[in-house]
Amino acid sequence: MLANYFPVLLFIAIGTAIGVGALIGSRVINTLLGNQRPDPEKLSPYECGFEAFEDARMKFDVRYYLVAILFILFDLEIAFLFPWAVVLQEIGWEGFAAMFVFLGILVIGFVYEWKKGALEWE
């Protein structure tokens, strides 16, 4: 059973190896060819040709947090829906009704946050 997932793991490992190999390989090639010539101007972060004004890790809009929190709520919802969808024909209309109630509660919350303006990006 779990052995079925070994190829997936192996595949991820090979994908990682491709990424790491490409980065290290090109670094080695560039060092050998003499292409790797850093200087302070080249390494400074890109900003319209000026010297960078301040640290780039600045404050950002709180709405990104809001999107992340809403995402967690809805994604959990989807996690509940997955097993339900697979067995729906066995649990029949009772299962349908249960999920209808569950989705109904979620929709109430969704309508609330919509009316509150949580989904607005002006």
């Binding site: 090979i14 491709i18 972060p45 989904l119």
Partner: protein
């Protein structure tokens, strides 16, 4: 043809098992399978990028790349371009900007590419042509594609550039928003197929009525939303505000150069091809023939049209891959607020409503009603 391949496959398994033993033999076969998937995938990424430039060139009434040939063969004009590009990227200096978090900066492309490759382990290309036929295939796919956003966030944070940071924030918010619509859209095929195993999901779309049996007909709204959410998930036009070259230069990978950029590029294109493959499997019957009607199966001249096989799967993927390019050449970029509005206020309500409709259709007495029993009566 299929029998020959199956026989050859069995011979390889036998040879590997007898020479390497019962543990190393299957592992070696798995490794061989992975190579058989990866090499065509990497070649597709390489040449899809060329096709992209050609198609967009033709749509804009210009030629696209036509200078770099292979061995000066006139017929192959432009065919050397991806190889030349790859060589160029390979020999370019890797710049790690000042003030960046070096470890995270180099980790980000690897984090992006590993799941983009690994997810192909569960994609079935034809009956039994799959590296790992796991029962929770669709869950594995969702889990892996969700990992992609970490690469974006890490890249934006580690770069120490304002453009990269803004691009990463936008991109992450966009990707998670559309992941909800995409997740809801994927429940549809699950309800219809009653299984998470991707091979079973394709098999459930087979029958006596060819393409009328495929899930895209009863699930049409979900099918459309899945594809559009797929465009947004992979940051493609018209949802590419994360890159938005006219405002953010290149978004989260603006500070990446040479091979570090190429690895991001590889992950992005592998993800696009994955979206095309998944759309074909879940909604368009994967490797099944569109002309697989019961009446055609006994007519000698057209029998071959009804045979299932990887050629149908690849043809369906090509349709989606072309759609990606067609959309890119045709539509202007969405504004960010429009994009979030589309994801949250339009797609999520539509998918929730249609999910309930589909769920009701899969249950008696609707499931055995005429027409509906074509998809849900199995």
């Amino acid at each position: 043809m299929l029998e020959t391949i199956a026989a050859a496959n069995q011979t390889v398994i036998n040879v590997l098992n007898s020479t390497l033993g019962p543990v190393a033999g299957p592992a070696a076969k798995t490794l061989l399978n992975i190579v058989l998937v990866l090499v065509p995938l990497l070649l597709t990424v390489l040449y899809y990028q060329l096709v992209e430039r050609w198609v967009i060139g033709w749509i804009q009434v210009r030629r696209g790349p036509n200078r770099v040939t292979i061995f000066n063969i006139p017929f192959l004009r432009g065919w050397g371009q991806p190889i030349a590009d790859a060589l160029k990227l390979l020999t370019k200096e890797q710049i790690i900007p000042q003030g960046s978090d070096k470890a995270l900066f180099l980790l980000a492309p690897v984090v992006a590419v590993a799941p983009a490759m690994g997810v192909w382990a569960v994609i079935p290309f034809a009956p039994d042509w799959v590296v790992s036929n796991v029962d929770a295939g669709l869950l594995v796919v969702l889990a892996m594609t969700s990992m992609g956003v970490y690469g974006i966030i890490l890249a934006g944070w580690a770069s120490n550039s304002k453009y990269a940071f803004l691009g990463a924030m936008r991109s992450a918010a966009q990707v998670v928003s559309y992941e909800i619509a995409m997740g809801f859209a994927l429940i549809g095929p699950l309800l219809a197929a009653q299984s998470m195993n991707l091979s079973t999901m394709v098999a459930k779309q087979g029958g006596n009525y060819g393409f009328f049996e495929w899930f895209f007909i009863p699930l049409f709204p979900l099918f459309v939303i899945y594809f559009i959410a797929g465009l947004a998930e992979t940051n493609r036009h018209p949802f590419d505000v994360a890159e938005g070259e006219s405002e953010l230069v290149a978004g989260f990978h603006v500070e990446y150069s040479g091979m570090t950029f190429a690895v991001f590029f590889l992950a992005e294109y592998a993800n696009m091809i994955l979206i095309a493959a998944l759309a074909s499997i879940l909604f368009l019957g994967g490797w099944l023939s569109p002309f697989d009607f019961a009446v055609l199966r006994d007519i000698p001249g057209v029998q071959w049209l009804t045979y299932a096989g990887i050629h149908w799967f690849l043809a369906k993927m090509c349709i989606f891959l072309f759609l990606f390019l067609w959309v890119r050449a045709s539509y202007p970029r969405y504004r960010y607020d429009q994009l979030m509005r589309l994801g949250w206020k339009i797609f999520i309500p539509i998918t929730i409503v249609w999910l309930l409709v589909v769920a009701a259709m899969t249950l008696e007495p609707f499931a055995s009603a005429p027409i509906i029993n074509l998809w849900f009566g199995k």
